[in-house]
Amino acid sequence: MSSIFIARATQVAARSLDGEMMIMSARDSTLFTLNPVGTVIWQSADGKTPLAEIVERKVCAEFEVDPAEAMKDAEGFVNDLASHGILVVSGDPIAPPRAAPGEAR
């Protein structure tokens, strides 16, 4: 099975409030609140760690979940976030974005 790599999108604002991760798409203002498993996946989305490794080493280590079920749920979760532009999903490692000069306001 080919690997899936995930990275946090650049046009998002994220904040942990009382242990709950809230993420807003700066593109369309959609707001998400992640559950604890989703939060772990989000925090591990560095673009270079395969999703399967995140599930195995982080999700399954911290939560009592069936590995196969956890992987299936994780794939659905990342695809859902990707459809809203919150996560970037790729079959290859994802390089961190280079800082672009912004327009001063």
């Binding site: 604002a13 409030l17 709950e20 809230m22 807003m24 700066a26 707001l31 327009e103 306001r105």
Partner: protein
Amino acid sequence: MGELATTGQQVIIEIGGMAVEVRSESPEFLEMLERRYSGFLSPEALPGFELDVELVAPGRITREEDLSVRFEAGRWLIERGDLRAEWEPASRRGRIVQSPNPYSIDAVLRIVHSLILAQEGGLLVHAASAVRNGKAFLFAGVSGAGKTTISRLAPPDATLLTDEISYLRVDRGLVGSGLDVGRNGHGYVAYGTPFAGELAKVGENAQAPLAALYLLQKGSENTIEPVKASDAARMLLENVLFFANDSELVSLVFESACEVVRNVPVYRLTFVPDERVWELIG
């Protein structure tokens, strides 16, 4: 009319501690503004920004049906059927083309204030607000949630800041000053606004440290319960006035809302519409 705020062909309107000099060649238009913003005129204030109003005959001014606010080439462009405006943050100057009516410039003022507030951690919120015993309370909710009702029920010793649009900014000068800046010394201050709702009555030009935010809903009994931070942030964001389709500003508003709920107590206030609800406030 008492003291005139116009100096020549201008009027200075100060909302939330920010003074705007509005200039027009029409004395009638300026007099209308003086009446509408009578409690918020500040002829001696140093204007933070300037707006020139060009008056044109009534009629459609732009093709935009809905409000459009966008940032292009260093300027904010604001368009709606009844107005076209631009505002340049760098020079702190702007221009409005509209017919002689009070509503177009009122909309532009709200938008410009919201854009400035977003840059400094403040918010414009669909909320009534009032000051009692030196503390400000915000009552947020969608239309029908009870903003007008709770404003109408306010006791005589309360000062109504607004029944519609609350103005919240961080007074960083107050943080650490030893003055009462609210619980945790967070520095959030609620200001009165002239942006009226159903009471059709402008708020008082007053301010006070924000003590609590209440999320309103009408019910069969008076209850008050704390709201967890993530729910509070979501509900506050639903009530924030935000006009620009701009990713940088969306992030700023999100951060501001999270900071508010992290620092200010937030409660869900379910109330029967009679004056006893104010016994729960404070």
